[in-house]
């Protein structure tokens, strides 16, 4: 869409592909649920029951996933269940969906916090850092576990308030790590089984001390390990080709998770033998169960409260001591990322209700600095703290399970309603087969699971029903009269059809951040574009929106960018064809790189304020990743504004891959002002492979400047940085190539170009060429 006042194009940065969103779903699903679930399930339903539980739960989850996939393909926009319910049944259903989603995510957050701290404490006991973890203190749990769980919640609430969360890439790395870990456990166990097939007896008695009816309850409690794929439906506004990729990602994530769970459950059970020794106690498993004819599943289920730490114990035996550490790390990683994700998921649910005035308006208040819905986050924190302070792990997991089951049930009803009543209006990317068989099956089976939970956790039912009753009361007496009545109150970003930029022209992108920076970028762009007549300038402003805030709330933060764009437009409009875009994104760096790819950009111009934003980055949190991954030439400008004349330009070179591009850039700028370029090499007394004279002779004829205006200069000095900085005092501009050191090398020290860039008082331009094998490869990765 474009703004009527300015003609500036506004877009969402669609930079998540099928892999990203599948990982997003897997990251939410694979986590503490499975680590705790294996022990709890072994306790109540035996080894065979554990396998049946995972297989059937996977199938039931798939029935709901088919409904999510169909609806998300037809309504590919942010909002997920809340949006589906609103479109299918209107306001009351959407309120109930949002209300249930709020508790579901909050209860899951409390569950993950408790699991996280219980795992850490058990680990401390194993290493004898503390004596023991006593069950039965504060509401049935060790008070220290609860206190630290509450502390963990507060820490993550603070992190969420600051608007930071895992980036897509880091989240994907965590998820892949967790996947590898659980698959490794499965394979380790499977290898034991192939060496000793008699271990299949570990599945006897098949249902342990339970029965088939009891299995239903276990399935209900463990269902929390299968929730999470619904977050993929929330990413409709950020996904490339959402009608195709979102349904695929939803279905793939359920398939991958189920197969992984089956593998790890099988591996855990057959990986152990009753003659194995438990490193924690020094006894054999048989001795530990008093030799009363018990089996491996019973031993696993005998750890912790109703088996909730059984998996940890099993892996300790399987991997001979290291298992405990590995499981602890895996649980910490998974529970940490899941806790973080559930907090912002719950916050967004509260925000959506506030935005549509179904809860007080304060819920939609966004903090002006951190851009997060702070009041909704505060209330969410209260809810999660309540769960973590009052419920046992099993009850917290069961509460989340019941709420998610109800939510999924609602989505299954919605898919039938939407296909019947709006099937001719909506455009579908996927239609499920045998409609409406699977939604009806899902509804019946999920009702069965929900009732099964009654056997396992009556507390969860009380909490769930109480929450629903409270929700109905709030809707009838508050929300109904205040809710915004218009049909399209949820701001929808249309799917943009990107105009394919021509690959023939010289496309230059200028990334604008703030009005102060805008003019200097425009001035340098103007000079750089002058020699080429086929230049097309794309002015772009990325508006990063924290994951806690829906992208449709981003408009509030775009005014600075609009101002910057207008200022640059006025400067550049007379010279080059210009297009302007404001993009809403989760990460400015990822958004810029995606835009570079989509618009076939040849040169990207960035501004830099001159100070490192964080010690982990050599330049800045946005510039660093863009420099590493953008498949085009890049110029980063510091202090180049005020229409300065660049009469004398210094180009320190050392023969790196950016040397030619750096020299060309300096030559273009010098020719504009009739200036000169000096190539500087520092003579440290050590032998150097780079010969500036030869380099100049090789490239001089191709430079757009009088050959006499470019010369090579060698200055003696023992310290390269200090010598360059001293020499730079005589010049109007320093142009230098970006480092070509690896990320690992840069972690140990700041490279020379970046050090000079930070310390140099003169106008400075850092150049990075798109050439080089590594950079060429990155275009395709």
């Amino acid at each position: 869409m474009s703004s009527p006042q300015t003609g500036v194009q506004e877009e969402l940065s669609r930079d998540l592909n099928l892999f990203h969103i599948t990982m997003m779903g897997l990251g939410m699903m694979i986590g503490a649920g499975v680590f705790v679930g294996i022990g709890m399930c072994s306790h109540s339903s035996g080894g065979g029951g554990l396998m049946v539980t995972f297989a059937l739960n996977g199938l039931i989850a798939l029935f709901s996933a088919l409904s999510f996939a169909e609806l998300a393909s037809a309504i590919p926009r942010a909002g997920g269940t809340y949006n589906f319910a609103r479109i299918a049944f209107g306001r009351p259903a959407s309120f109930i969906a949002g209300w249930m989603e709020w508790l579901a995510a909050s209860a899951a957050g409390g569950f993950y916090a408790l699991v996280l701290m219980q795992t850490v404490f058990k680990f401390c006991v194993e290493f004898e850092w503390i004596d023991s973890v006593a069950d039965g203190g504060w509401m049935g749990m060790d008070w220290r576990v609860r206190v630290f769980a509450l502390g963990a919640v507060l820490v993550f609430v603070l992190i969420n308030f600051r608007g930071s969360s895992e980036t897509g890439k880091l989240g994907a790395i965590f998820t892949v790590g967790q996947m590898l870990f659980v698959v490794a456990i499965g394979i380790a166990g499977a290898v034991q089984f192939f060496l000793d097939p008699s271990r299949i007896e570990n599945f006897q008695p098949f249902l342990g001390s339970g029965d088939w009816i009891g299995l239903l309850g276990t399935m209900g409690v463990i269902y929390v390990a299968f929730e999470g794929f619904e977050v993929i439906a929330q990413a409709g506004d950020e996904t490339i080709d959402p009608r195709r990729n979102i349904p695929k990602a939803i279905l793939y994530s359920v398939l991958i998770v189920t197969l992984t769970y089956l593998l790890v459950a099988f591996g855990t059970l057959v990986g152990l033998s009753m003659s194995d020794t438990d490193p924690a106690t020094g006894q054999t498993l048989s001795q530990a169960t008093n030799g009363a004819g018990e089996n491996v599943a019973a031993w696993i289920g005998s750890h912790g409260h109703e088996g909730d730490s059984g998996f940890q114990a099993a892996v300790s035996v399987l991997l001979k001591g290291w298992g405990g550490l590995l499981v602890t790390l895996a649980v910490i990683f998974s529970a940490t990322s899941a806790l973080n994700a559930t907090i912002y998921s719950a916050t967004r649910a509260g925000y959506a209700l506030g935005r549509d005035r179904m809860l007080p308006k304060a819920f939609s208040n966004i903090h002006p600095v951190t851009k997060t819905p702070w009041f909704s986050l505060l209330c969410t924190a209260g809810l999660i703290l309540g769960v973590a302070a009052m419920l046992m792990i099993k009850d917290a997991g069961a509460t989340a399970s019941i709420m998610f089951l109800m939510l999924f049930l609602l989505v299954n009803v919605c898919v039938i309603r939407v296909r019947r009543h709006m099937g001719d209006e909506l455009q579908y990317g996927f239609l499920m087969p045998l409609f409406p068989l699977f939604p009806i099956l899902a509804i019946l089976l999920q009702l069965g699971l929900a009732f099964g939970i009654f056997e396992e956790s009556i507390v969860a039912w009380f909490v769930g029903v109480g929450w629903l009753v409270a929700g109905v009361g709030i809707f009838l007496f508050y929300s109904r009269s205040r809710a915004i009545q218009t049909e399209e109150e949820i701001h929808v970003f249309h799917e943009e059809r990107h105009k394919q930029a021509t690959a023939k022209g010289y496309n230059v992108m200028v990334a604008l951040a703030n009005p102060e920076n805008a003019l200097q970028l425009a001035q340098v762009t103007h000079r750089l574009c002058r020699p080429r007549k086929d230049t097309h300038v794309e002015l772009i402003h990325m508006v990063p929106v924290p994951a806690q805030t829906p992208l449709d709330a981003a408009e509030e933060f775009m005014w600075a960018g609009r101002e910057a764009i207008m200022e640059s437009m006025l400067y550049l409009a007379m010279q080059n064809p210009i297009s302007t875009t404001i993009r809403y994104c989760r990460s400015a760096a990822r958004g810029i790189v995606t835009a570079v790819r989509q618009k076939k950009i040849k040169l990207l111009i960035l501004g830099w304020h001159g100070k490192k934003s964080h010690s982990h980055f050599t330049i800045g949190s946005t510039v660093d990743p863009v420099m590493e991954t953008a498949p085009c030439n890049i110029l980063t400008l510091k202090n180049c504004g005020q229409n300065r004349k660049f009469k004398r330009i210094l180009v320190p070179l050392a023969g790196g891959p950016n040397s030619r591009f750096t020299l060309e850039t300096a030559a273009i700028l010098a020719s504009h002002d009739g200036g000169t370029v000096d190539i500087l090499t520092v003579d440290t007394g050590r032998a150097s492979k780079f010969d500036a004279e030869a380099f100049l002779a090789m490239h001089q004829s191709k430079l757009p400047i009088d050959p006499h205006a470019v010369s090579a200069r060698k200055v003696p000095g023992s310290n390269i940085v200090e010598t360059i900085l001293d020499t730079a005092e005589e010049y109007d501009l320093v142009v230098m190539g970006n480092t070509h050191e690896s990320r690992l090398q840069r972690m140990t020290h700041t490279p020379i170009p970046e050090t000079i860039a930070e310390r140099c008082d003169k106008p400075f331009i850092m150049c990075r060429s798109a050439k080089g094998i590594r950079r060429w490869l990155r275009r395709f990765i």
């Binding site: 065979g48 029951g49 396998m51 049946v52 297989a55 059937l56 996977g58 199938l59 798939l62 088919l66 996939a69 393909s73 097939p197 008699s198 299949i200 007896e201 599945f203 006897q204 008695p205 098949f206 249902l207 088939w212 080709d241 009608r243 195709r244 349904p247 695929k248 279905l251 793939y252 359920v254 398939l255 189920t258 197969l259 089956l262 296909r419 099937g423 001719d424 209006e425 909506l426 455009q427 579908y428 990317g429 996927f430 239609l431 499920m432 087969p433």
Partner: protein, 74 residues
């Protein structure tokens, strides 16, 4: 050495029922996902459309094939 199949066969009725359930559930899961993947590609390749048009194409066996411009005129 014991044969896993024979152990299962000699096992309780619970084990037999459980194994059948696991096999059916896993098979159905894999089959449904692969089938759905093919269906998504077919629908998206021929352009997302209303449910009625997609079902019409399915019935005529034209799903996933380029749209006939004359059909639109009708």
């Amino acid at each position: 050495m014991l044969n896993p199949i024979s152990i299962l066969a000699a096992g309780t009725g619970d084990a037999m029922i459980g194994c059948v359930l696991i096999a059916c559930a896993t098979g159905a899961l894999v089959g449904l996902v692969l089938w759905s993947r093919k269906r998504i590609n077919q629908i998206c390749d021929s352009g997302p459309r209303s449910a009625r048009l997609i079902l019409h194409d399915l019935k005529n066996g034209t799903l996933g094939k380029p749209a006939d411009p004359e059909a639109d005129d009708e």
